[in-house]
């Protein structure tokens, strides 16, 4: 193949089409994850641990400087990042929705119990 890698939306595209669409630069995320985290691992003479730098730097540059502000906006990935904490990681939001559902179920049950108690007290009075 004589064409450079490129990101492409999938609609109607086949590998053969890519040769004719010109050289769009590949997505930076796709390149960074490959050159930082893939490829053969051999220790060079210059000792720099990419593991220390890659995730923290790239992520932190893209997150608001203030941790509190970020948390208010719902950006809290570091609380699940195994590199930064020891809490288990939740890979997809289906789990978060399920947890919220369970929490609200408990709240709903508590609310119903409270209203039944208030009804009893009203009738007793």
């Amino acid at each position: 193949m004589s064409h450079a890698p490129q990101s492409s939306a999938m609609v109607g595209r086949t590998p053969g089409d890519m040769a004719s669409t010109g050289h769009e630069p590949a997505n930076l995320a796709d390149i960074l994850e490959r050159v930082l985290d893939r490829g053969i691992v051999i220790v060079g003479d210059i000792r720099v641990s990419l593991l220390d730098i890659e995730l923290l730097t790239i992520k932190l540059r893209l997150v608001i400087a203030s941790v509190d502000t970020a948390r208010e906006m719902g950006i809290d990935w570091w609380e699940y990042d195994p590199w930064l904490t020891s809490r288990p990681r939740r890979p997809i939001e289906a789990d978060a929705a399920a947890d919220e559902a369970h929490a609200l179920e408990a709240d709903a049950a508590a609310e119903e119990a409270r209203e039944r108690r208030l009804d009893r007290e009203k009738h007793r009075a």
Partner: protein, 271 residues
């Protein structure tokens, strides 16, 4: 120390005619060249210690603008080498003192390099990412019976709404898994990578699969057709194909496991 030159390693290959790299510029802005040893060819760039030594490299890697330029330059060389023959990409920032050191590394790790080159010869890596599609608008929930108070009714409606969202998300996850299984049947090797950080991708949608597939180069059209067919099959998810890539995802020498569908899958090692 500034002005002293060291060697940035881009990739390892074999049987390469150095003239095929004529005009190719490396990360340091200077032309790449080769170092040959043990039947292998290392493709290297001379770089200045002042910019690529341990301390400056550590600082520069913290600079996203610098990182982007260097990452793209590194990848462009890997890609060019890969178009001339089988290639083992090396990770960013693999730097050696001189030619002799590179020769020693080639000789010491000859078996590993050869195994990877054998694995990737005449094969292409394709990336397929799967995102959850935007959820369709949901009809309003039926009114709750009035035997309980308004607070409880609200909480029940909210619980039902979340339950429906959970089911939609679970369906998308299941469909992404089906896509991965179907693509794996077309590939010689597969690798599932962590979903990309959405702040890096700029995509609001949840990424459910970030897969790499090693496919015989002669089957590339067929693989693309399979991806296109899968794209049209599910309303819960959206597919994105990238490539052709040099075999970044298949260049490691790690343990592997065999998945249910009989394809050898290389897993990221536990960290």
């Amino acid at each position: 120390m500034a002005g002293e030159t060291v060697l940035w390693l881009h990739a390892v290959t074999r049987g390469l005619d150095p003239r095929q790299l004529a005009g190719l510029i490396g990360v340091g802005g200077r032309p790449v060249r080769t170092v040959e040893a043990a039947g292998l060819v290392a493709v290297v760039s001379p770089v200045d210690l002042g910019e690529f030594g341990e301390e400056p490299l550590r600082r520069n890697l913290e600079d996203l603008a610098w990182l982007e330029v260097v990452a793209r330059a590194h990848h462009d060389v890997v890609d060019a080498v890969g178009r001339a023959g089988p290639v083992v990409p090396t990770r960013l920032a693999t730097v050696y003192r001189d030619d002799a050191r590179i020769g020693t590394v080639l000789a010491d790790r000859r078996a590993d390099f050869s195994a990877v080159l054998d694995r990737v010869t005449d094969r292409t890596e394709w990336g397929v990412k799967v995102y959850a599609a935007p959820a369709p608008p949901r009809p309003a929930a039926a009114p709750a019976p009035d035997t309980t108070g308004p607070g409880a009714a609200y909480l029940r409606r909210r619980r039902e709404q979340l339950s429906a969202e959970h089911q939609t998300q679970q369906a998308a996850v299941d469909d992404a898994q089906e896509v991965h299984a179907a693509l794996s049947r077309c590939a010689e090797a597969v690798r599932r990578h962590p979903p990309q950080d959405r702040r890096l991708t700029g995509q609001a949608a949840t990424m459910l699969l970030n897969g790499a597939y090693l496919v015989g180069t002669e089957h590339s059209q067929q693989f693309g057709a399979t991806v296109a067919a899968l794209s049209g099959r599910y309303r819960t998810i959206r597919l994105e194909l990238t490539g052709p890539w040099p075999p970044y995802s298949f260049s490691t020498v790690e343990f592997s496991t065999v998945e249910d569908f009989g394809v050898v899958e290389h897993r990221d090692p536990p960290r």
